[in-house]
């Protein structure tokens, strides 16, 4: 019953991700990456992380695609030709092993939505119970991000600021 949503989403994610890597044309790769972001945002929404899904849809599906397309338009066609050497033997051996290791380690992860995990039992109940009295903000995600963890969010904003400055400095020609 649960898997009837999970398996099609997982297949779509795998197909779009593999397509973005394997396709011959960079423009198609960019558009496939945008659709990959869209399916990823569906996955987040299905898992209950609506805020993350919103950001993924807007940034990954919208803004990121536009920036990639502008970069592609601004580059000469001879620079965007793909040279893709066949994968070496080490790659073919190591990466499946790494995937198996990750799957093996994922066995020890707690069940999704388990209320007894440290993540759900340590400080989350305090936030969920106190946040409305403390901040008059019904959305707990916002009150955690902007109030309880405000300094983290401020430094994230500094990162975005630095990214904008760095793009302006690096991409400015004739200087």
């Amino acid at each position: 019953m649960i898997l009837s949503y999970e398996i099609p989403l997982l297949l779509l994610l795998l197909v779009t991700a593999a397509g973005a890597i394997l396709v011959k044309d960079l423009m198609s790769a960019v558009l496939l990456l945008g659709s990959y972001s869209f399916f990823l945002s569906l996955t987040w929404a299905w898992l209950g992380a609506v805020d993350v899904a919103f950001v993924e849809a807007v940034v990954g599906g919208g803004l990121g695609t536009v920036l990639f397309l502008l970069t592609l338009i601004g580059t000469a066609p001879k620079d965007t030709r793909l040279r893709r050497p066949p994968p070496s033997a080490i790659t073919l051996i190591v990466f499946p092993l790494l995937g198996l290791l990750l799957l093996y380690a994922a066995n020890d992860l707690p069940e999704f939505g388990d209320p007894n995990t440290p993540a759900s039992a340590h400080i989350s109940p305090t936030y969920l119970e106190q946040s409305y009295q403390d901040t008059h903000t019904p959305n707990v995600v916002t009150s955690v991000l902007m109030d309880y963890r405000s300094l983290d969010t401020m430094v994230e904003t500094v990162v975005i600021f630095a990214a904008g400055i760095a793009c302006a400095l690096l991409l400015r020609r004739n200087a």
Partner: protein
């Protein structure tokens, strides 16, 4: 350098769509306290509206209003955010402890709610300006040089 789009369909749709996108961005920004959304997504949507206007009407159309000033505004969002933190320190508390915002007639929880709104506006301004400034950096060198050299 992006020139205005030739197609009348694209231009008409753009005239209709851009205000809707901007209003939706403001809605997401201020609705973030009640549902999914918030400063980051609202700022990206506002920036995307401006990018859309640049892509449809070209650089020259928006040049006089936003293009030259927007690159100077890159620090305004940070200033709003850190300024709220500084006001909290002036109020006698820790950095970014909104309960210490000195506003008479507001209880502690409402002060923290107000602090959340103000910092979200700061994040939104920073993200929107960064998005549009990256697009300008990618597409128009001369505008940036005009802006920096005065």
């Amino acid at each position: 350098m992006i020139r205005p789009h030739d197609s009348i369909i694209v231009q008409t749709l753009g005239r209709f769509l851009i205000p809707v996108v901007q209003i939706f961005g403001l809605y997401v920004l201020f609705f973030g306290q009640y549902g999914p959304g918030g400063g980051f997504v609202g700022g990206v949507i506002l920036g995307t509206g401006m990018i859309l206007s640049v892509l449809i009407f070209g650089h020259d159309a928006s040049r006089s209003q936003i293009a030259k000033k927007v690159l100077h505004g890159d620090g305004v969002g940070m200033l709003i955010y850190a300024g709220v933190g500084g006001l909290c320190m002036i109020g006698g508390g820790e950095f970014l402890n909104y309960a210490n915002l000195e506003i008479p007639g507001l209880e502690t929880a409402s002060r923290r709610s107000l602090g959340i709104v103000l910092t979200q506006i700061g994040v939104a301004v920073d993200v929107a300006v960064t998005a549009i400034s990256i697009v300008f950096s990618l597409s128009a060198e001369d505008i940036i040089e005009d802006s920096i050299n005065g």
